[in-house]
């Protein structure tokens, strides 16, 4: 019971600190803006730990965070191998192929107003579909190794990026395009110097959405068959063999990778679209 009481006390204190921080005159400072959510997240972990210990919940159902951390530290070898298989081989390659294909497709489609009008509604619709469902089909086509995972990722990231890029390419207005024409700019010049930069905020929107989709695709595809490594493989076998702490360690890796991937793309976006009002705040 003491664990629970300690956790509750910590919760109340942390809550108080956060209220005080948010109301204080430093609330605009970067350090405080980071400290508040970090404290909030840490409180959740402490509550989790306290609840698990106080009620004696079996680690087979829900291991305490401390145990997950321990497992994480002890099995970095396995986690690294899974990370390489799922993220570096499956997700990132698929993401790169899908993104390049989608942008090239968008530029090609954009040349015809007819195609754009036809493809935008369809692309929007397909982007909302549960495309993960094609995972078993693609595993069947491309085999068990990373190629099939990359293929699932390609299909999943393709449509959000395509739709956003096509929308972005239409973003320039008549005046700007007329200006390019008075400069006697060719199609390529207009594309590279005006329309692609103008499309960047939209394109990055799609790229950011696609980061999560890429990881989801790579992990789900592994549920349908994979070599004996990979995050999805480890999670599905870990649940079966009741090594739940390892599963949570994999989830932690997935969460870290997902956040880092998103953060990385957001960082590049900031560098590329520095001129956009949303980035100048």
């Amino acid at each position: 019971m003491t664990a629970l009481i300690l956790a509750l006390v910590f919760w109340i204190v942390a809550w108080g600190v956060n209220i005080w921080l948010a109301g204080s005159r430093w609330s605009g400072a970067l350090a405080v803006r980071i400290a508040i959510p970090v404290l909030f997240g840490f409180t959740l972990l402490v509550l989790w730990e306290g609840l698990v210990r106080a009620f004696g919940i079996s680690p087979v159902i829900l291991p305490p965070p401390s145990m997950v951390v321990e497992t994480f530290a002890n099995s970095t070898q396995i986690l690294w191998e899974d990370f390489r298989q799922t993220v570096l081989k499956g997700a990132l390659r698929g993401y790169a192929i899908g993104a390049v294909a989608a942008v090239l497709c968008a530029i090609a489609i954009d040349r015809s107003a007819f195609l754009t009008r036809g493809l935008l509604p369809i692309g929007n619709f397909v982007a909302a579909l549960p495309i993960v469902g094609i995972a078993p089909i693609l595993v069947n086509w491309f085999g068990f190794d990373w190629q099939s995972k990359a293929a699932v990722v390609v299909v999943m990231v393709f449509f959000p990026i395509l739709v956003n890029t096509v929308q972005g390419l239409r973003e320039t207005d008549m005046m700007q395009r007329d200006l390019m024409r008075t400069y006697a700019a060719s199609y390529i010049q207009t594309l590279v110097k005006l329309r692609l930069p103008a499309a960047m905020p939209f394109m990055f929107n799609g790229l950011k959405i696609a980061t999560t989709l890429a990881l989801i695709g790579a992990i789900v595809a592994e549920y349908f068959g994979s070599p004996t490594r990979g995050m999805g493989f480890r999670i599905s076998t870990g649940v079966g063999s009741l090594s739940i702490d390892l599963v949570w360690a994999e989830i932690a890796v997935a969460a870290l990778v997902g956040s880092a991937f998103y953060g990385g793309v957001a960082w590049v976006e900031k560098r590329v679209t520095f001129w956009h009002p949303a980035q100048r705040g």
């Binding site: 159902i61 469902g133 995972a135 089909i137 069947n140 992990i219 995050m231 649940v239 969460a255």
Partner: protein, 310 residues
């Protein structure tokens, strides 16, 4: 309306490409079958054929290409086959009065729809509550908003098997519950973001006007912020319901569920019946389309009655 013709053209082109791709995709399977039934195939033996490109195989065995369009277990079924399978498992079963049979996609669609709607309502409730908290409380804004964003970068599928194990161990019966949790997890975020935007959309002058009326903060919430957020709400609800459906199907895929569209995909994979997978996929797509269209209609009528342009 003027985009109807382009959409139809693009759809037609996609179906044509699909149809043409069936030949090369299935040529190996159909040649194997033809060889087994005694026909002469060039080159002989499926191992020898593996190193030959599909185009060469099609040119050398042009008589067997058409067999690829009528396989029972094709690598890539034709659009017609998928359509027939869809009809066989929906319309045809209704006509025989067996719409709720375990083999009917209507039954499986209904199971998926239930979880989707539960997840949708749960996610929408959490999203709206979170948005209200974020708009009215500084602490909530600073501590919740970053985590709401981070939560979406965590691949939920990694958690799906865990959620199912935990809820099973805790004695929560029924497979609908964990699926609804997963779809709520995917669904709450767009609603939260949209509602925060919507609740903050009234201008300072409008809020000031209510203050001069001596309106309480509850009154200004009910009469100004809430109505102002409705257009944002509906836009994000449409994203949310599609996300909820994705969540349900993801929840059904890796977990050994036995009913639901995701389970049909899983079972189709395990039993090697591609047609079942494809028809379940298309049923899911149709379900998504229907749900989004319904919400779109509700949005249009609501906004019209509220005097806002849709």
């Amino acid at each position: 309306m003027r985009s109807v013709l382009p959409v139809i053209t693009v759809l037609g082109a996609l179906i044509a490409i699909w149809f043409l791709a069936v030949g090369p995709m299935n040529i190996r399977v159909s040649l194997d079958m033809a060889e087994r039934s005694g026909a002469t195939v060039l080159p002989e033996g499926s191992v020898e054929r593996r190193s030959v490109s599909v185009w060469k195989l099609m040119a050398q065995n042009s008589a067997h290409v058409s067999a690829g369009y009528a396989l029972d277990r094709p690598r890539l079924p034709t659009p017609v086959q998928v359509g027939q399978e869809l009809w066989k498992t929906t319309g045809a079963m209704v006509m025989r009065g067996r719409a709720w049979s375990k083999r009917s996609l209507i039954y499986h669609g209904w199971i998926t729809l239930q979880s989707t709607l539960w997840g949708f309502f749960l996610g929408t409730a959490i999203g709206i509550a979170g948005a209200v908290a974020i708009v009215y409380s500084r602490v909530a804004n600073m501590s919740l908003m970053p985590w709401a964003i981070i939560s979406q970068t965590i691949p939920i599928v990694a958690l799906a098997p865990m959620i199912i194990v935990v809820s099973g161990q805790l004695g929560v019966d029924g497979r609908g519950f964990p699926k609804a949790i997963i779809s709520a997890y995917l669904c709450f975020f767009p609603v939260l973001v949209g509602m925060v935007k919507g609740l903050r959309s009234p201008q300072a002058s409008q809020l000031d006007l209510l203050k001069t009326y001596h309106a309480t903060s509850l009154q200004s919430f009910l009469k100004l912020r809430l109505p102002a957020s409705v257009p944002y709400l509906f836009t994000s609800l449409k994203v949310g319901i599609a996300a909820a459906l994705v969540g349900t199907i993801v929840g059904e895929l890796p977990t050994g569920a036995i009913s639901g569209l995701g389970a049909r995909i899983l079972i189709g994979d395990q039993f090697g019946t591609p047609l079942a997978i494809w028809s379940a996929l298309f049923a899911a797509a149709i379900l998504a389309g229907v749900l989004v269209t319904l919400l779109d209609l509700v949005q249009k009528t609501t906004l019209k009655r509220m005097g806002m342009q849709a």
